[in-house]
């Protein structure tokens, strides 16, 4: 494969598009495989209202808002808790078994409880997204804090740093790359939870809702268009995280 990098990147997606068009013509049943054109038509009119449920752009923004909120709350809880657990073996022991108990439970399973506790509305959606983002952020933060070399902490201490200064000037910067990875993974999962979260009754907007609504009216091309948008947004945000990682945390990889 002597092709230049950018070409390699779009090779597979291009092949998929071609394969799709061919397959849809062969299968000739638009219910199984909607044509590329029908999906493209939805994608290239992102500002047009779909089935009275708002446009692709409108719903995308709403979903992003919700995910951002759930993610932020998860980060605000998980990072400090992770630092506490990473620093103190005792604290970790207290929380460990509870966390390991809840971690494998998929966010979707929390839906009925979310509805019962938070009623219909933004809070229940944000809760589901919170659950999705919380654990990766927490676990990575603990990891990152534990990965901070003891000598860094001790060097700082003998240089006169007090407890709080060690936290902000050594622990946090030292753990930052791993915490950032946790945030990246956490956001990815939170974004995946969008569809699940927006399945809650009473939700009347968002990409997940749009997809479900389209499903209820059998509009396959809207469903696929929605999936594409979800994928693209997820990809862009991941790129952002990776970009910051490369710029700020390069030292991590290159450390001896």
């Amino acid at each position: 494969m002597g092709l230049p990098r950018p070409l390699l990147r779009i090779l597979l997606p291009a092949l998929i598009l071609v394969g799709w068009e061919v397959a849809s013509l062969l299968v000739a049943n638009p219910y199984i495989l909607p044509t590329l054109e029908s999906v493209a038509q939805v994608l290239f009119t992102p500002l047009t209202d779909i089935l009275g449920s708002g446009s692709l752009v409108e719903n995308a923004l709403i979903s992003i808002e919700r995910v951002a909120l759930g993610f932020l709350i998860a980060a605000l809880v998980a990072v400090p808790l992770g630092i506490l657990m990473g620093r103190s073996e005792r604290v970790k022991t207290v929380f460990d078994s509870t966390i390991e108990l809840f971690r494998p439970v998929p966010p979707l399973a929390w839906v009925p409880l979310a509805l019962a506790w938070f009623k219909i509305g933004l809070a229940s959606i944000v809760f589901i997204i919170f659950i999705g983002a919380f654990f990766p952020i927490l676990l990575n933060t603990i990891d990152g804090v534990r990965g901070v070399k003891r000598t860094w902490v001790e060097a700082a201490a003998t240089l006169g740093a007090r407890e709080r200064q060690v936290l902000f000037h050594v622990i946090l910067p030292g753990a930052a790359p791993t915490i950032w990875t946790g945030l990246r993974v956490g956001f990815g999962i939170a974004w995946m939870c969008v569809v699940a979260a927006e399945m809650l009754p009473g939700t009347t907007s968002g990409l997940g809702y749009l997809i479900l609504y389209a499903y209820n009216f059998g509009q396959m091309q809207v469903i696929i268009a929605g999936m594409v948008v979800i994928g693209l947004i997820g990809l862009s945000i991941d790129y952002f995280f990776k970009g910051v990682e490369a710029r700020e945390f390069g030292w991590r990889e290159l450390e001896r």
């Binding site: 001790e154 060097a155 003998t158 240089l159 006169g160 200064q165 000037h169 030292g174 945390f249 030292w251």
Partner: protein, 252 residues
């Protein structure tokens, strides 16, 4: 400045449940501007001793006093320089050196002046903007020394600082350290297991026994003027004497 180590005892129990007696009733007085090397076979507790002096560890009994004040936690009058991972990898050389001053709340301008001064002192003026991962081992340790000196401590505590360097760099660094010491007139406590290094650097060599670490003997080297010639008669004699002390200690 007077540093007094009085009857320090250190016992602890390992994770496996073993009782370890690391240091046994150790007493030592360090004079101002002295260069003391602490030497001994592996596991004799020399690092433990250094950490207790730094305030990073507490003695089971006994105490360490600096000018009469008890050392029970780290204090910037006694700065520690480690063998590895001493620098903060997310900070540039300048930012590393500035660390202690930043902590103290020194203004940006004053910090800059101090950093410039110490960068020049250790001969790394051109490398201020580099990150630790871009530097060689020897250069990193020089930055570590600069960082320690920047807060103008009373004592430098060095835990085998050149142990991870290759032989040539090691020699260079030893001469560098002596030059810096000449310039800054600091008191230095230097832990090593290299007899050669100890004889080359120290004013006095404190030789410890095997665990539990006690003082076997304190060997003065002051009558050998710097720069010391490794081939000269006194050097060779002192080295042989110290070596004997150590091998005796190992077979006890």
């Amino acid at each position: 400045m007077k540093l007094q180590i009085q009857g320090v005892n250190r016992e602890f129990v390992t994770e496996q449940g073993e009782a370890v007696h690391a240091l046994d009733d150790l007493s030592l007085e360090v004079q101002e501007r002295e260069f003391i090397c602490i030497l001994g076979p592996s596991g004799c507790g020399k690092t433990t001793l250094l950490r207790i002096v730094a305030g990073l560890d507490r003695p089971t009994s006994g105490q360490v006093l600096i000018d009469g004040h008890l050392i029970d936690k780290p204090c910037p009058r006694l700065v520690m320089i480690f063998q590895e991972y001493s620098l903060f990898p997310w900070r540039t050389v300048r930012e590393n050196i500035a660390f202690g001053l930043e902590i103290q709340g020194v203004s940006r301008e004053h910090r800059k002046d101090a950093v410039d001064r110490y960068l020049t002192l250790v001969g790394l003026s051109d490398f201020g903007g580099q990150y630790p991962y871009e530097l060689s081992g020897g250069m990193r340790q020089r930055v570590a020394v600069a960082r320690a000196l920047a807060i103008e401590p009373d004592v430098l505590l060095m835990d085998e600082p050149f142990g991870a360097l290759d032989a040539q760099t090691r020699n260079v660094m030893q001469r560098e350290l002596l030059r810096l010491r000449e310039k800054t007139q600091k008191t230095i406590l230097f832990v090593t297991h290299s007899v050669d290094e100890a004889v080359f650097l120290a004013d006095r060599i404190v030789v410890l026994t095997r665990r539990p670490g006690k003082i076997r003997e304190i060997v003065p080297v002051t009558h050998c003027p710097h720069p010391r010639d490794r081939t000269c008669r006194e050097f060779v004699e002192i080295r042989r004497h110290v070596l004997d002390l150590i091998s005796e200690g190992s077979t006890d």
